[in-house]
């Protein structure tokens, strides 16, 4: 059988040369079908009119040659070889009417179809890749800043949240005095509040300096602020009709007393 192959194969010098070249880069093939497709090109006919028998012979010759050259062929090449040997025998022998299986012609037609389909896909792939491609031939919008889908997150917080938050810190937090820059400033409101309470007890003229709160007398800065606040508060009390104010002479102490009604 091997001799017969050699004989058939030898008829086509061109094909044999091609097959030898093929063997050298057997790794370059993507499997038996790819190899068969390449071999079929040596027939230089439309794939639809290809001689599958010739192709089978070529392929088996290729496998034989590879064996001679001690090239290890992958299992699927050998499976294909076995199948093609079977196909070849079917094609060469007259059909056996008792055989239920597919005829040689049917098998050959299917192989031809497979080759044609693979070829078709390759051409389609080539045409596809030859198309203008995005990022190479045509381009999308470059600016990414105006992305269309803006997810808008709104953060909700109510005044109550805010106050509760503040209250939470303040109750948790031991009421440690929080010292701002206002450390040395007595506000008029503070002075007023203090004087409102105290004025009730003072029927006689009293130097407003005595109304300065404890701890606001030593430090000149604090004293200044407290004096100013107390004076302003005194005027407020006078304005409200709750007190009288006087100064005997320039730079003399300013005195205040409860207004008797």
């Amino acid at each position: 059988m091997a001799g017969e192959q050699e004989l058939d194969f030898g008829d086509k010098v061109e094909a044999r040369l091609a097959a030898e070249a093929l063997i050298i880069d057997v790794d370059g093939f993507e499997g038996p079908l790819d190899l068969l497709l390449t071999l079929s090109r040596t027939q230089k006919v439309d794939l639809r009119r290809i001689s599958v028998l010739d192709l089978a012979v070529q392929y088996l010759g290729f496998v034989e040659k590879a064996k001679e050259l001690r090239i290890e062929l992958a299992a699927d090449y050998l499976v294909m070889a076995a199948w093609l040997a079977f196909l070849k025998s079917r094609l060469l022998l007259p059909p056996d009417p008792s055989d239920e299986g597919p005829s040689g012609e049917e098998l050959a037609a299917h192989l031809a179809f497979q080759l044609e389909r693979l070829e078709g896909m390759r051409k389609a792939a080539a045409r596809l890749m030859a198309r203008d491609q995005k990022g190479r031939d045509f381009f999308a919008r470059g600016m990414s800043e105006n992305v269309s889908r803006v997810r808008k997150v709104t953060y909700g917080a109510t005044l109550l949240d805010l106050m509760q938050g503040y209250a939470r810190i303040r109750t948790k937090d031991d009421f440690r005095p929080f010292v701002l820059d206002r450390e040395s400033i007595l506000t008029m409101e503070q002075a007023l509040e203090r004087m409102r309470a105290l004025i009730g007890y003072t029927g006689d003229w009293t130097d407003i300096v005595t109304y300065l709160p404890d701890g606001w007398i030593g430090d000149p800065k604090r004293r200044r602020s407290a004096t100013a606040a107390t004076f302003a508060a005194s005027l407020e009390l006078v304005k409200a009709g709750r007190a009288e104010i006087r100064q005997q002479e320039l730079y003399a102490p300013i005195e205040i007393r409860r207004k008797s009604r």
């Binding site: 499997g31 079908l33 299917h110 693979l118 078709g120 269309s148």
Partner: protein
């Protein structure tokens, strides 16, 4: 309900304004925008499809143009000006022959199972090849085939269409010839009729292209 009723009391913006709106939205987006999405973003009563037709005409022959991508629309630069864009050119890894062929098979035969791809190529499909194509967002999983084993199928994506400038999978080059030659049929190997003969599988495979 009441809201839509209320809204319908307002008239749709004039067609010229609608055109401007579609223009603004498409210009702002890198990705193709569906007609439904356009309509949702435009004021009530606007008809993006009409505006799109006007706008497409307006950009004919310009440096950029309106392209349909499946159900979506995008503005893309004119292909003849690609030479100006060296700076924007995306360096794509050169695809292997296996990847290119697999992609083509998915595109022309979708939805297609891995086994079918392997049958067509005559070799097994490596996981890496499929992963790469999924990574490029050119193919994705389709529905499972209702055959024994319920194999997963692959289909091409809108991104694939966009990348290759195709309006739809029907515009694949040479599709008609391939179909006419019967090369897109799922023709079972003689002697292996039983399993592949599932009529549903054949239906599914071809229904994408037969509807014209």
């Amino acid at each position: 309900m009441s809201e839509s009723e209320e809204q319908s009391l307002f008239e749709a913006p004039p067609v010229g304004d609608q055109e401007r709106m579609v223009e603004a939205i498409l210009f702002a987006s890198k990705e193709a925008v569906t007609v439904a999405d356009l309509n949702a973003r435009m004021p009530h009563g606007a008809d993006a499809a009409v505006a799109l037709q006007h706008l497409r005409k307006r950009y004919e022959g310009r440096g950029v143009r309106l392209c349909r991508v499946g159900d979506s629309w995008a503005i893309r630069t004119a292909p003849d000006l690609g030479f100006l864009m060296q700076r924007e050119t995306v360096e794509h890894r050169k695809l292997s022959r296996a990847a290119i062929e697999t992609l083509a098979i998915v595109a022309y035969h979708q939805p297609v199972t891995r086994a079918e791809i392997e049958e067509i190529r005559g070799v097994s499909v490596s996981r890496g090849t499929v992963d790469l194509l999924i990574d490029l967002e050119w193919i994705r999983f389709g529905r499972r085939r209702m055959t024994p084993g319920r194999p997963v199928t692959f289909v091409v994506t809108a991104e694939f269409l966009d990348h290759f400038g195709l309006e739809s999978a029907r515009d694949l080059p040479g599709l008609r010839e391939l179909r006419a030659a019967g090369l897109l049929e799922n023709r079972p190997a003689p002697g292996y009729v039983s399993e592949e003969d599932d009529p549903e599988s054949t239906d599914e495979q071809t229904d994408m292209f037969e509807s014209e």
